[in-house]
């Protein structure tokens, strides 16, 4: 069995705060997970959940209170590991006195590339991220979306085996998001591993082989999007129209009306009784569909549970 691309074992991060820094806030608690070689792994969570903290720990921008992590089998303290990883920070900001070409060349110089190789790669990457025409403009004149594109280019310029992207879609217009999605899929095709954090769940559902959901600094679930949403109870939705809207149908109390159509959501066991009732009322059935729980539902349930727990702790503390 091959070594996972990223292995995280019991990683925790506490920040001291308050007078004399005696109090401690836990940003990440005992995180253990793996990202397999060649997969696209989505790291999901609301703002402040611990996604960026985890990524910063992996990139040694901050240091763990406890726990360890390895990337491509090497400890994150091993500097040589960084030859083979690419990283896009959240809301990236770069030296604004440089042009995109100069910035990429600057970063490429840390990767033992020849001048000719650097030149070729920089031009190719700028084209790929759609900045070919703006390559000679200083970054101080770039929009947020353009900076995001430069950031993506510098992360993959040296063709790393593992690419870590912190909110890569942030600040991008729909076209930009589509381009980033294509680049991520292309990286997967090339056999590279991609770990990216996001709170845009549709992106995760569309791209990821597996996702990890983190809320309140704790990992709440890891699996394929299908596995995770499979945990949720499912129901049915019936859409129908009534020939005589004045007719009294008890089901209408639970229904919502859109245009001429009514929609009602029911447990699967109640569907036949509801259909009988509608038939008796002379309703026209438009559709009966299974409600497929989305990643968003799973995610929202976790966030709600976490908030409820936090409130309970606060109340008992009082």
């Amino acid at each position: 069995m091959s070594t996972p691309a990223i292995e995280i074992e019991g990683l925790s991060k506490e920040y001291p705060y308050g007078f004399l820094s005696l109090k401690k806030k836990t940003s990440l608690e005992n995180l253990t997970m793996q990202v397999e070689n060649g997969e696209i792994f989505g790291f999901l969570g609301p703002n402040g959940a611990g996604k960026s903290t985890t990524i910063k720990l992996l990139m040694r921008l901050i240091f763990p209170t406890s726990g360890t992590a390895r990337i491509l089998g090497k400890s994150i303290d091993d500097i040589s590991m960084h030859q083979n990883i690419g990283y896009l920070p959240e809301q990236p900001y770069f030296y604004d006195y440089l042009t995109a070409t100069e910035l990429l060349d600057y970063f490429a110089r840390f990767h033992n590339l020849t001048a000719a190789d650097r030149r070729e790669r920089v031009q190719r990457l700028l084209k790929k991220v759609g900045l070919d025409t703006a390559k000679k403009i200083q970054l101080r004149k770039y929009s947020k979306g353009m900076l995001q594109r430069v950031g993506l280019a510098q992360a993959i310029l040296h063709e790393p085996e593992v690419v870590v992207l912190d909110e890569p879609m942030s600040g991008l217009d729909p076209l930009g998001r589509r381009e980033v999605r294509d680049i991520i899929l292309e990286l997967k095709k090339q056999g590279r591993t991609v770990l990216f954090s996001t709170h845009i769940l549709s992106d995760a559902e569309m791209l990821c082989d597996r996702v990890g959901v983190i809320v309140g600094g704790k990992l709440r679930g890891v699996g394929t999007p299908g596995e995770l949403v499979g945990i949720q109870s499912q129901g049915m939705e019936i859409a129908f129209e009534l020939a005589d809207p004045a007719k009294r149908v008890p089901l209408l109390e639970k229904a919502t009306k859109t245009g001429e159509a009514y929609r009602v959501q029911l447990p699967e066991a109640d569907v036949y009784a509801a259909l009988d009732e509608l038939k008796a009322a002379g309703a026209r059935i438009i559709s009966v569909v299974q409600i497929k729980a989305s990643l968003e539902d799973f995610f929202m349930n976790l966030v709600d549970a976490d908030r409820a727990q936090a409130n309970a702790v606060e109340v008992s503390g009082k």
Binding site: M59, I62, Y87, P89, Y93, Y95, Y97, F110, G151
Partner: protein
């Protein structure tokens, strides 16, 4: 060393593009004004007035750059988060720090060299000639440059663990205290206890002794600077600077970025 060089050259490029070298215009204007004024009011002391004024300006402008830009070298990168993408590259934090230091040292060298050329020009315009004793100016400027480089190291050290404002205060405070390091060693007061005397002596050794780099009066009067003094100043700056940078690297290597 390659990583250090890459960061250093980029730091130099940043200084040039951020118009740090524009201070040379101010220096040029100051020297031109001084040359005109001295030509009119000084009789026989043009040399010492121009040299004193020029060296003082080189020193003050240099200190200003060393402190304010030195503090910003690391803190600005942390505040703006430009450091994030960089530290994810195969570069050690000490290499980044040393590169930033070397980059500003390069900037100060170019800046000081240009100002020295301006000073020679001012001297020539006043005296209409240059004498052999004028070569001692180079020695004085060299010692000022060593002082500036040491100040950069101190500014970087403080900026590694405190806010930019406090780092500026600490650096300027240490600089002023360092000007009196020699005095502190020689202090003799009847009402001081032996413990206090020992403390002053210890402080005088810990503080950077900036007196080592001041030969302005000697050079202004056209006298040669002893080679031993230059050697001692060079060795002192290298050792003290290396210790300060080592301390900065140790602190920065475990610093959590925001």
């Amino acid at each position: 060393m390659r990583n250090v060089w890459v960061v250093a050259t980029n730091t130099f490029r940043e200084a040039v593009r951020d118009r740090v070298l524009y201070n040379l215009v101010f220096f040029a204007l100051l020297m031109m004004g001084a040359a005109i004024l001295v030509g009119q009011i000084s009789i026989g002391i043009e040399q010492s007035v121009i040299v004193s004024l020029g060296l003082s300006a080189i020193s003050v402008i240099g200190i200003f750059i060393a402190v304010f830009i030195g503090v910003g070298l690391v803190s600005k990168e942390m505040d703006k988060r430009t450091l994030y993408a960089l530290l994810a590259k195969p570069i050690e934090r000490w290499q980044f720090l040393t590169g930033k230091f070397a980059g500003l040292a390069m900037t100060l060298t170019v800046n000081t060299a240009a100002m020295t050329a301006g000073l020679y020009l001012a001297l020539w315009s006043v005296k209409h000639t240059l004498t052999s004793s004028d070569r001692y100016l180079i020695v004085a400027v060299y010692l000022i440059l060593l002082k500036l480089v040491l100040i950069v190291a101190l500014a970087m050290l403080f900026s590694c663990f405190t806010s930019p404002f406090l780092a500026i205060l600490f650096t300027l405070g240490i600089y002023v205290a360092g000007l009196f390091a020699g005095e502190l060693r020689r202090v003799q007061a009847v009402n001081l206890t032996p413990a206090a005397m020992s403390m002053f002596r210890a402080m005088s050794y810990v503080l950077p002794n900036f007196e080592n780099f001041n030969v302005m009066a000697t050079v202004a009067h056209g006298r040669a600077v002893p080679g031993s003094l230059v050697g001692q100043g060079t060795l002192y700056a290298i050792l003290y600077g290396a210790i300060v940078l080592l301390g900065a690297s140790l602190i920065f290597s475990r610093r959590n970025l925001k």
